[in-house]
């Protein structure tokens, strides 16, 4: 008997996605674990400014964040694992944001949504706006825009899902924060005089060592006038 001719068969994709497409479940537990984690993200129900309106729109039926498994907005930090900082964080509000972050259980993730949450945005030189929430808490995904469209928020969620899928819960380098050093808790800044103290948390963020723009007076590649 001749053995069957296999030469016309296409190369088999042995990655978990490929085998799943072929109708065969050939996978590792870790992959299934991360896949289910990434498709069940529970955002915290809170919003700061105009960006929050887009976030609400994303949660509505038209854009439907439920397609990505993140529709369970929880009004308690104890029950959620994703903080969407959607909008302007004023200095008066910043201690509360850090406090809420501290209250979330691990694993916890942060999306900084909009120019304001990233850097202060249109209010950067104002006396009352924090110049980016990443000065006090670690941010996983930065989502620029003013405001970002709901599609962009969905894309940032997919980006976060990719990050979650890459995390390792076993082995020498554990990157899943649930199995890390314990719950990440950062010092809550204080309102002192006219400003926040400290102005940033050096554990999380430091100003770039040398900012060439400040030395030259203009962004790199441009002439000062």
């Amino acid at each position: 008997m001749n053995s069957p001719d296999l030469s016309d068969q296409k190369a088999v994709d042995l990655s978990p996605e490929g085998t799943a497409k072929a109708g065969v479940i050939l996978s590792s537990l870790v992959w299934i674990y991360n896949w289910s984690r990434s498709n069940s993200v529970w955002p915290l129900l809170f919003g700061w400014a105009c960006c929050a309106i887009e976030m609400i729109g994303t949660a509505g039926s038209r854009h439907d964040i439920a397609r990505f498994g993140a529709e369970v907005f929880r009004p308690s930090p104890r029950q959620s694992d994703l903080m969407i900082v959607s909008g302007t964080v004023t200095k008066k509000m910043a201690p509360q944001v850090v406090r809420i972050y501290n209250q979330m259980p691990e694993p916890k993730y942060v999306i900084a949504m909009g120019a304001c949450a990233i850097s202060g945005g249109p209010f950067k030189q104002g006396y009352n706006v924090l110049k980016g929430i990443d000065r006090y808490i670690p941010v996983d995904v930065y989502l620029p825009g003013c405001p970002p469209r709901p599609e962009a928020l969905l894309h940032s969620l997919m980006t976060l899902q990719k990050q979650i899928k890459r995390q390792k819960s076993l082995g020498r380098t554990i990157t899943n924060p649930a199995y890390g050093e314990g719950r990440r808790i950062y010092p809550v800044p204080e309102l002192r005089g006219d400003d926040l103290f400290p102005p940033f948390n050096p554990e999380v963020w430091t100003p770039p060592a040398k900012n060439p723009n400040v030395e030259d007076g203009c962004p790199a590649g441009r002439k000062s006038v």
């Binding site: 008066k92 030189q125 006396y127 009352n128 110049k131 005089g193 006219d194 100003p207 900012n211 400040v214």
Partner: protein, 196 residues
């Protein structure tokens, strides 16, 4: 909405000043209670709705005006406009469907400006006057609960004043220029001085 004629109130209170350039009635803080309650009750005015309270800060500055001199020629005259603070009130009459009517309380002091609160007459003034107090430091006598409203307790200055300098938190400015560049440099030197 139909505009409101100011002649009636000037007839009733001849000592009041009508500032034509801004179309507003200037009040000194002592006259407030009397004039405001009259404007609220008088059948010709019936100003029953206070829509807006704002603060304004004027630094001392030179102003140039065109005047006619003795020879009959137009010349520029420089004079010093004194520092002052104003609280501007916008009124409407819902009953007569007229408005707005603008009323200003003016104090010639930036050190310790004190005006009279309208909260006893219009409940809606309470939060707006607190905001003016918070951002301009203008005190309202007769206000039931004069506290900061937007800034936190312990904030030291009044941020909407013209001479307010915000704290320097310019650690990272990606595209600085002008004042921002100066302040970013200052801040950088400050931070470098702190670190060993």
């Amino acid at each position: 909405m139909a505009a409101i004629d100011h002649k009636g109130v000037i007839r009733q209170f001849p000592e009041l000043e009508w500032e034509a350039s801004s179309g507003s009635l200037i009040l000194s803080p002592e006259k407030v209670d009397e004039v405001v309650s009259w404007l609220k009750e008088d059948p010709a005015y019936r100003l029953d709705y206070l829509s807006c309270v704002s603060g304004v800060d004027y630094l001392e500055k030179e102003v140039k005006t065109r005047v006619r001199n003795e020879a009959g020629k137009m010349v520029f005259k420089t004079s010093l406009s004194p520092e002052k603070m104003e609280v501007v009130y916008h009124f409407y009459s819902m009953e007569k469907k007229t408005g707005p009517f603008i009323l200003k309380q003016r104090v010639l002091s930036r050190e310790n400006p004190v005006v009279t609160s309208l909260t006893p007459h219009y409940g809606g003034a309470e939060l707006m006057e607190r905001e003016v107090y918070d951002l301009f430091g203008i005190r309202f006598t007769g206000h039931p609960d004069l506290r900061r409203i937007l800034m936190w307790e312990g904030f030291q200055h009044y941020p909407m004043r013209k001479d307010y300098v915000p704290p320097n938190d310019y650690e990272y400015e990606p595209t600085p220029h002008g004042d921002v560049l100066e302040r970013a440099r200052e801040r950088r030197e400050e931070l470098e001085g702190q670190s060993p």
